[in-house]
Symmetry: C2
Subunit: 362 residues, 2 copies
């Protein structure tokens, strides 16, 4: 985690002061990784004004030491992290008002807090760490660039091998294998490979369906490097594209180019969304673009800022977002083109380098 970690803890403490709380109980796993470097799936962190304490279980005993180092005091608990928390909190002097993450504490755990934590005042908080995460530092950006390169390299490698008659699952298998060989630590989300009418399902997974000549082939996937994600979509035509397929493709490609080129620091997510949406609406396909334009990526594949009709917040400098307009017609097919873009002070910068021209394959 470089040592961005020191700066992150300092920024969080400033946010705590602004919100008049003395400490934050962090239960979101990506937020814990952001603050401490710990990549395990079971942990709790308390950040007070003077200390950072991480609680995890037996399974991570070895891992936590080398990942976290001096970034937190670590405690290995064999039974219940919650029970242990009640004995750790009294050690944190000057801690009266404690925030918890309202979107990352389930009702059952909220009840535990109300029952076991009566000694403190508890305050629900929203997005304290998530908003810090929207601005990527140089180290984070380097990791995303690498994840983007791995994804594009894998796609370049497998596209020449795709043939009609293969199943979507077989294409996913080749692609994921190439991602692993390129060094991807994991798959940030389930690989989508959708051919023909299934390309009209914005969240299809790969299936046993066979790819046929004439199909759109939509591939949406990502890579992971040092905890950070990429997320890219390309839509191909198997064999020769029909005029109707070209029309749909060109509208999406142009809408995507307009949106990527128009992203500026300080613009609202809503205005960013409108860049592509108004182009698609003017082309007469507005009804066919039902989802949002994009989302931030980083430690999670969906994070802030959002680019959608409802997003009022301005895009901060250093945000990395997907730009992914699409059009879909049930029973016929769909086209989506998605890239990862840095919203920089010097203008938008594409991080995913893979051609956007309509490509006939197979």
């Amino acid at each position: 985690m470089g040592d961005g970690r020191t700066a992150r803890i300092a920024a969080l403490r400033r946010a705590l002061a602004t919100h008049e709380i003395d400490a934050l109980l962090v239960t979101s796993i990506p937020n814990i990784r952001y603050l401490t470097g710990f990549s395990g799936s079971s942990a709790m962190v308390v950040v007070s004004m003077h200390e950072v304490v991480l609680l995890t279980d037996f399974r991570y005993q070895t891992q936590v030491t080398f990942e976290v180092g001096a970034a937190a005091r670590t405690i290995i608990e064999l039974q219940s992290l919650w029970t242990r928390l009640w004995s750790v909190l009294p050690e944190l002097t000057g801690t009266e008002r404690i925030g918890f993450e309202s979107s990352h504490v389930v009702h059952r755990d909220f009840q535990r807090i109300m029952e076991g934590g009566t000694r403190w005042q508890w305050r629900p908080t929203s997005d304290l760490i998530e908003s810090l995460r929207e601005r990527k530092d140089a180290d984070e950006l380097a990791r995303i660039r690498r994840a983007a390169d791995i994804a594009c390299g894998a796609l370049h490698e497998i596209i020449p091998r795709v043939r009609p008659g293969m199943t979507e699952l077989a294409v996913a298998g080749m692609l994921e294998h190439a991602l692993r060989d390129g060094g991807s630590e994991g798959f940030p989300f389930e690989t989508i490979v959708a051919a023909g009418p299934r390309s009209a399902l914005p969240h299809a997974r790969a299936s046993g369906n066979t790819i046929a000549a004439g199909d759109f082939l939509l591939i949406d996937f990502g890579a992971e490097h040092a905890g950070y994600c990429s997320d890219i979509t390309r839509t191909f035509v198997v064999g020769r594209a029909t005029p109707e397929q070209r029309v749909a493709y060109d509208i999406v490609r142009e809408a995507q180019a307009v949106a990527v080129g128009g992203l500026t620091v300080g613009m609202s997510g809503k205005d960013a969304d409108a860049l592509a949406r108004s182009y698609i609406e003017r082309s007469g396909w507005g009804e066919a673009f039902g989802h949002s334009l994009g989302h931030g990526i980083g430690l999670e594949v969906h994070e802030g800022p959002r680019l959608s009709r409802l997003a009022e917040a301005p895009l901060p400098a250093g945000a990395v977002v997907t730009v992914e307009p699409g059009v879909y017609r049930a029973g016929w097919g769909g086209v989506r083109i998605e890239d990862d873009v840095l919203v920089g002070d010097a203008g938008p910068e594409l991080l995913t380098h893979f051609p956007r021209e309509l490509k006939e394959i197979g």
Copy 2:
């Protein structure tokens, strides 16, 4: 989903009656799939005594129709599912007391319920659907068997190709590719490939580390078929095993065999755990087995029943559980052997068929 669905809804309604509630708001995605067959990632379901209503968003418009059919009345909502819920609930006559899933509603959504749902009485519930899910029906069992076969077939295929000098990631890539070619819809959890000292990390992921002669090579992974998971672990030795490696391996293999053979309907999860644990303790390696013996598998890779030192509940007939003892020594390595086992009235039945003898590979 066959039509287990009708029986499942009926069983849930009996549970609601027992708990004196008129309806349940279901927000857990696997629970929604269990009841309705819907496999999307964004939905809410309300089960009242007379109706089943499913709310989802635009992206799933086409998918929801063919997956859910007559199992629920489906509503496509373009904005907020929560807002729509407040207009749907008044249509469900006779609904006063509504349960919500305490482990699947975050505090923020609990606040929405408290603010938007003042017209109803809300009751936290735990595991109403999860306990139904513990007993697999014939259709579910057939899906798990297939997922187990896919996993074992993939492992058989790639083990002869593993060589010293390969990275853990390369092995994961081959294995995942073979899983896809075998028809796996996805990866129920991140593939673990851990060589040498990394095999001592019970939750290591695959890394760029190179496999060397003399290493333990621990591989823990699963397949998915029609929504259902398998989960298997084997530990190999690269090259010739040392006497010390054989000792550790044999203890785990024997402990696992004892535990698999001893599983009976009605036994507590704690007594099941003790079958393996007491064997390992008697062998002098008790300290090296820090995790639980196993867990249920089904729509999720970790579900009930649990086999652990704290699990008092009896194993129901039809449960499918993992049996996965392991021993780990930091800096040296670890061994884990895991199979999926049906706890049947006629005795335990192994669902994963892959040899358990120590195998020297590479």
